[in-house]
Amino acid sequence: MRRARLLAYARWQASDFAFERLPAIAVITAAFSAGAWLAIPGNLRSGLAAGDPDAVQNALRLFANLLATVWFPVVIVASNQIVSGDRASGRFRLLFAKPVSTRRYYLQAFAVNGLLFVATMTVLLAPLALLFRAPPGALQASAAIFAAAYLAVGGGCFLFSALIRLDWFAITLVAFVEVLLDHHFGGQRWTRWLPPFHLVKGRIDALGDGLPADWHELGALALTGLASVAIGVWLIRRRPLAT
């Protein structure tokens, strides 16, 4: 009796990420980054070159604006259709005729994608952080935000992926409604029960203001995501692979 060598298989899941998701993430990030860099006013550029503290602070806000624009689409690219893609295409049939646990397989795929996603964003944003003269620690802080965002929104996407094909649409809708509700009713008690997606934007704004990372908020995002992933894994077991 043999069991699948799932840990060794992680390199193939990494290869899938590299060929199927990374190019789109790179294109989106590069396009928004180029736009952000080109939009910098001339006086800010010269101020940055001269090391003017006000210019550096403004540039950090622009860097944060870029993160605020780019984080959602890249998280969706990194996390969508992890389960539903195999279901819709029928690829699950040959994969899961092997002695492999579907839950472990998809949990590992989510983890591999997450690790590579954060690494990819860090590498892609590093040159930009240099150009924007972002202070030391800004890149690490942005990596922490991307990790929390991947867990929260990507985890939600994973949950929907275990249920429906249009997981990316469902999570986008949920995130939109949550941000809208938080904007209008943010102070009320019942909003505590909503997934705290709006915290991502708040953390990015704080980064732009040069404030330190709020581990409590990042933790709330991560915990929300882990809960979604746990429910997703439970659903994978419960919902038939074939329909």
Partner: protein
């Protein structure tokens, strides 16, 4: 090894009407056996296979493999499986696809390379090893799917339309391969439209139609000696002589007739009369295999498409 006990499956879509795809199916398959499943389109074969692999739960009844639920068995031991639709990521290269499936089948580093090389040689995939799946012809993709099913050492092998898309040469090779896979502790299930293939390979064939198990036909042993009801007779020098001995003979060609008989005795008596009249018989063969006879009785005569 495999037990279907009163198994039924009803599809209940949110929109549209419920469909009873499988109903009251009871049979078992023993280790060491090659078991065929035959049936027309929409008979319920694919649903049966999906339930056997644990991809779908039955609505009624129970399915067990070695006494456990199918999904539990598959996740514990794995199944050598070829699906009707070869769904492998089109971006993967053939060699890499085999290596991936080998890892999932539980092979370790050195074994993966060796097993992939063996399978590639067996199925003549070496020249296609570097191609992406989307670049493979239908037949080559089918061979790739067949190859991955042979990785590992599964005690249960399930072939769903295994020769679909294969050319006659590879169909023949598949027929030669199956007997080599036979083992006392292994069950092989083949679902196919190709009755000739099932007749050659299977020990028993289940004929399903409209979701019901209509009949199980023994292809080996005493049960295999079923008598065909129609034969094709080829004679030398004009088949009109056949008409005198076999009333109602149907012309097939210049020297060939298809005749209906009630028993082997009546067939032999009529052939003896034919020979006595000085006719040279070239060949006598059943017009249909015994499995085809059963299939026609169950399916065609039952009015299914």
């Amino acid at each position: 090894m495999i037990t279907f006990q009163g198994v039924g499956k009803t599809y209940s879509p949110l929109l549209g009407k419920r469909v009873r795809a499988v109903d009251g199916m009871t049979f078992s398959v023993a280790a060491g056996e090659v078991f065929g499943i035959a049936g027309p389109n929409g008979a319920g074969k694919s649903t049966m296979i999906s339930m056997l692999l644990g991809f779908l739960p039955p609505t009624d009844g129970t399915i067990t493999i070695d006494g456990t639920e199918p999904r539990v068995f598959v996740e514990r031991e794995g199944i050598g499986y070829v699906s009707e639709l070869v769904a492998i990521n089109p971006r993967w290269r053939a060699r890499d696809a085999l290596a991936r499936f080998a890892l999932l089948a539980g092979l370790s580093g050195g074994e993966v390379e060796r097993a992939v090389a063996e399978v590639a040689t067996l199925l003549a995939l070496e020249e296609h090893a570097g191609k992406r799946v989307k670049e493979l012809s239908k037949g080559t993709a089918q061979r790739l799917a067949l190859g991955q099913s042979l990785l590992g050492d599964a005690r249960l092998v399930v072939f769903d339309e295994p020769t679909h898309g294969l050319d006659p040469l590879w169909m023949q090779r598949f027929r030669e391969l199956v007997p080599t896979l036979r083992r006392a502790d292994r069950a092989i299930v083949i679902a196919s439209h190709n009755l000739d293939e099932l007749g050659r390979l299977a020990d028993r064939v289940a004929i399903v139609d409209r979701g019901h198990l209509q009949r199980i036909v023994e292809m080996r042993g005493a049960g295999a000696a079923a008598v065909a009801s129609r034969y094709r007779i080829v004679v030398r020098g004009g088949a009109s002589a056949v008409d005198g001995c076999f009333p109602g003979a149907v012309p097939i060609g210049n020297d060939e007739r298809e005749v209906a008989v009630e028993s082997l005795e009546s067939l032999n008596a009529a052939l003896a009369a034919l020979i006595a009249r000085g006719t040279t018989i070239v060949s006598v063969a059943p017009a249909h295999s015994s499995l085809e006879e059963h299939f026609r009785q169950v399916v065609a005569d039952g009015g299914a498409s």
